[in-house]
């Protein structure tokens, strides 16, 4: 039983990260119907942005002497997180503006290829050995970097089940963001405009909706979310390297599809379900088939619900 609960905690913890990345993914997908292949790499950039910002503001680890006070921790963590979100938001804007917008009216696979191009550019660009050395080393190069401890980890143990403040904060942030996004999408003027653009951007223009601006903001929002996810993830799993967004992006894509692409709660649930499925598979069956079984679960779910758990499967009107 202890083990079962521990797996539950672990699964939720991993699923939270998937969900956080998937939220941004699903936003972008929802409005453009574009598999934003570069989303995982924006996530990676978010982690590095956080890393560099921590260096710049001089984040001191909890074991430093003297240890940083609560105020300092809060201020610096906020600067790092917000800064990473802003940097990624800008990156998202640039990517959308220059790589995707010119192809918006083309076949969707075309934009997919530029997305792959952007993804490669970020990955391999970040893998180059540092060209700039002061004040920061950039690009970071291929070997992993250690993300600073913005916040001290506090472990809790209850009946042999251990969890930490990282897990709790992650889950709360993810839930908060999900509710916030849901509110934005369904309760605000911007959200209505987003959904309109998503359905038919041409007609949305006829309603007076500035389509380009809405799409740009959606990208900015989605990319900023990726950065938030990256910082939260990197604090608890402090190894970051230029390719670590690849798998995260893929898993987020899976989670978003599982939940039903374009659906905000779907992304959340998809992420958690994927995290839990992987966890229990790895924990109770053969861990060497972890990824294989995660994909099997996905395939089975999609065969039963072809538009994902929360997606509306629209029978094409004939």
């Amino acid at each position: 039983m202890t083990e079962f609960l521990q797996h539950l905690v672990n699964g939720l913890s991993v699923g939270t990260i998937y969900a956080l990345v998937a939220l941004g993914y699903t936003m972008v997908y929802g409005v453009l119907k574009l598999i934003n292949f570069a989303h995982g790499d924006v996530y990676m950039v978010g982690a590095f942005a956080g890393y560099y910002l921590s260096e710049l503001v001089g984040v001191r680890p909890p074991w430093a002497d003297p240890p940083p006070g609560a105020g300092e921790v809060f201020v610096k963590a906020t600067i790092v997180t917000m800064g990473a979100m802003i940097i990624c938001g800008l990156l998202g804007y640039v990517i959308e503006r220059f790589a995707y917008r010119p192809l918006r009216h083309r076949a969707r696979l075309t934009a997919l290829i530029t997305a792959i191009g952007v993804s490669f550019l970020l990955e391999f660009g970040f893998q180059l050995s540092p060209l700039v050395h002061t004040p920061i080393e950039f690009p970071p190069g291929p070997s992993p970097r250690v993300f600073p401890a913005l916040l001290e980890r506090v472990g809790y143990e209850w009946a042999g089940v251990s969890l930490s403040n990282y897990d709790i904060i992650g889950l709360l942030v993810a839930l908060g963001l999900m509710l916030g996004l849901q509110f934005i999408v369904y309760r605000t003027r911007f959200g209505t405009a987003m959904r309109a653009v998503s359905f038919d951007s041409e007609v949305a223009g006829l309603m007076g909706i500035p389509v380009n601006r809405i799409i740009s903001w959606t990208f900015i929002l989605g990319s900023a979310l990726a950065a938030a996810a990256a910082v939260i993830s990197a604090v608890s799993r402090p190894r970051i390297e230029p390719l670590f967004g690849l798998m995260a992006g893929l898993k987020a894509f899976v989670a978003a599809v599982l939940g039903g692409i374009g659906s905000v709660p779907g992304a959340m649930v998809g992420g958690l379900v994927l995290g839990l499925a992987e966890e229990y598979v790895a924990g109770y069956t053969d861990s060497s088939y972890r990824d294989a079984i995660a994909f099997t679960v996905l395939i089975l779910v999609l065969l039963i619900r072809p538009a994902g758990l929360f997606g509306r499967f629209t029978v094409e009107k004939v």
């Binding site: 997908y29 076949a107 290829i113 530029t114 792959i116 191009g117 952007v118 490669f120 088939y289 099997t296």
Partner: protein, 340 residues
């Protein structure tokens, strides 16, 4: 007699192609310069992969991201067979001929096995569309790789090594030719048009009597079989089959090729497979900057020419060739015989 002429016509591309390839191979060996052989093999294999993926992604309009999985099935099947038959020989034949016969058998088995995998992967395409299908095919590719990675008999992460060198320019050339001929003959046949119909409008295709489910699965099977062939060839060129060769990144590379060439264009796929492979090789001098340059080129090319190199057209549709050939369109039957 008619049957003979029929047969001749059916194999015409090969009757022309095989002697050319044989002499190329002979020239390579004779000049002692093996320098480009492996590069040409990779080019050829990429042509096979791109043209075969185009059958599913271009002609049928199903978005498959699992080509590497089929390659893996083909590569491992063929590798198992050649390794298993390593000690055997058909005594009445010279050793080399016997080896090549066994290799032909291995290639056929690779195609069959990959084709079977294609059935499996094709089935979800009956219910899923677009990105949902893409993620599922990608998932299948990863599952195949994951299973291989865990099978002791398949060498786990190390894979199968010590394969005999069997792939040569003739095999690769003939296979690439066969893939192109397949794609071309399909595209001018009623079966191929049924695939196009599925791409254009599935509901209408079904209503016009096209068994869309059956044809989608068949497209997957054909495409997978040729991917398996490509996998088997590359394995017997570098004498190795490891899971590392068949990651989803490999599938994505092939998708890039066909989109860059112009989705649905056979010659586009060929040209872009050749250009991309050679281009990446040429960029090798740039070391770590190579992939950055490649990525940047990819973006720029797509922005400059979003429809791909050829769009949906073929080389022979271009005005230049049109003027020359002044092809009389005597209908699909005659066309099918003519090209490539």
């Amino acid at each position: 007699m008619a049957p003979l002429r029929q047969l001749l016509r059916s194999f015409l591309p090969f009757l022309v192609g095989v002697p050319v390839l044989l002499s190329a191979q002979w020239a390579m060996e004779y000049s002692g310069s093996q320098a480009y052989t492996l590069l040409l093999v990779t080019v050829g294999v990429n042509v096979i992969l791109a043209v075969s993926l185009n059958v599913v992604n271009g002609a049928t309009g199903q978005f498959s991201l699992g080509h590497a999985g089929f390659m893996a099935v083909g590569a491992y099947t063929a590798a198992k067979i050649t390794l298993g038959l390593a000690g055997f020989k058909l005594s009445f034949l010279p050793a080399a001929v016997s080896d090549q016969l066994f290799f032909a058998l291995a290639l056929a088995a690779a195609m069959a096995a990959a084709g079977l995998a294609g059935v499996l992967v094709g089935l979800p395409s009956l219910r899923l569309r677009g990105d949902y299908l893409a993620i599922v095919t990608l998932g299948f590719g990863e599952i195949i790789r994951s299973v291989i990675e865990n099978m002791k008999s398949l060498g786990q992460a190390t894979g199968l090594s010590g394969l005999p060198l069997r792939t040569n320019l003739v095999w690769v050339g003939v296979s690439a030719l066969a893939t192109v001929v397949m794609a071309r003959r399909l595209s001018v046949s009623t079966q191929g048009r049924a695939l196009f119909a599925i791409r254009e409008d599935e509901v209408a295709a079904e209503a016009m009597g096209v068994d869309t489910t059956g044809y989608k699965v068949r497209a997957f099977v054909i495409s997978a079989a040729y991917a398996g062939l490509g996998g088997a060839l590359i394995a017997h060129a570098i004498l190795l089959a490891t899971p590392r060769m068949f990651t989803f990144v490999r599938s994505i590379e092939v998708v890039v090729m066909i989109v860059l060439g112009g989705l649905g264009s056979i010659t586009g796929s060929v040209v872009s497979a050749v250009v991309l492979t050679l281009g990446l090789e040429a960029l090798r001098e740039f070391q770590a900057y190579r992939m950055v340059v490649y990525a940047a080129l990819l973006i720029v090319l797509m922005l400059l020419r979003p429809q791909g190199i050829f769009g949906t057209h073929e080389l022979w549709d271009l005005p230049f060739f049109k003027r020359r050939g002044a092809r009389k369109d005597a209908g699909g039957a005659a066309r099918a015989g003519g090209a490539p």
